[in-house]
């Protein structure tokens, strides 16, 4: 098993899923590559591709809500940011992902 092979597989598996949700991979290839590598490493360690930018707890149900792509569990929050929390996925119409900022969930109206 190689990290590079897993990164390509995650791209293949995630692309159709996020497409149906109105999202796409960030056009910033360097960020996408870095985040996919983190996902592959976390999956190799835990068996599950948890979001690399969210803290896991000991509550399995809560942790399952951050398995990538976690968009369906945070729809209102991510739609407000037009990106997911780590930035691997952005709304389909986004061309400049660096202009998007993280907004804490509690501040989303």
């Amino acid at each position: 098993m190689s990290v590079e092979g897993r990164k390509k597989a995650l791209r293949e598996l995630f692309a159709p899923t996020v497409d149906r949700l109105g999202y796409k991979f960030t056009p910033n290839d360097e960020d996408a590559d870095f985040l996919l590598e983190q996902l592959a490493n976390i999956e190799a360690e835990t068996g599950v591709p948890y979001c690399p930018c969210q803290a896991r707890s000991k509550d399995r149900a809560a942790d399952m809500r951050m398995v990538c792509p976690c968009i369906p569990f945070h729809r209102k929050h991510y739609d407000a940011m037009r990106r997911c929390w780590c930035g691997l996925f952005v709304h389909k119409d986004v061309t400049d992902p660096d202009s998007l900022r993280q907004i804490p969930e509690g501040r989303v109206k």
């Binding site: 098993m1 897993r6 597989a9 293949e12 598996l13 190799a44 068996g47 599950v48």
Partner: protein
């Protein structure tokens, strides 16, 4: 030497079927009209892979969800973790390593799929 495995019409795109050729158990996969031949037994716990799922070129085992690249046989991921209340042994037990699948050349000719089983 290439041997006829089955008629191409027997497997729709995205489908798989197990065949036995010269005593070898093989799964023929149809990925968008291109056929691939891989070992039937999963590289993790020997489950029958044709009962799994084919997503593009990624074959997912039905038993513990290990994944493989049908084009090269490379193991892409190991098994999913044990369920919290699961009564079965832990699929991620280090004693059960996940290895890649053996693959064989396959080609489509005259509406049939031929596999070179050496």
């Amino acid at each position: 030497m290439f041997v006829k495995a089955l008629d191409a019409a027997e497997i729709a795109p995205g489908g798989m079927k197990a065949v036995t050729i010269n005593g070898r158990e093989i799964v023929i996969c149809n990925h968008a009209g291109t056929f691939y031949a891989v070992e039937r037994a999963c590289g993790h716990a020997k489950a029958r892979l044709e009962r799994g799922a084919l997503t593009g070129w990624i074959l997912t085992c039905p038993l513990h969800y290990a994944q493989f690249d049908i084009r090269s046989g490379e193991a892409l991921s190991g098994p999913a973790p044990k369920a919290p209340a699961g009564a079965h042994p832990d699929p991620r037990d280090p004693a059960l390593k996940t290895v890649g699948l053996k693959t064989w050349p396959a080609r489509l000719e005259g509406g049939a799929v031929f596999v070179d089983v050496q």
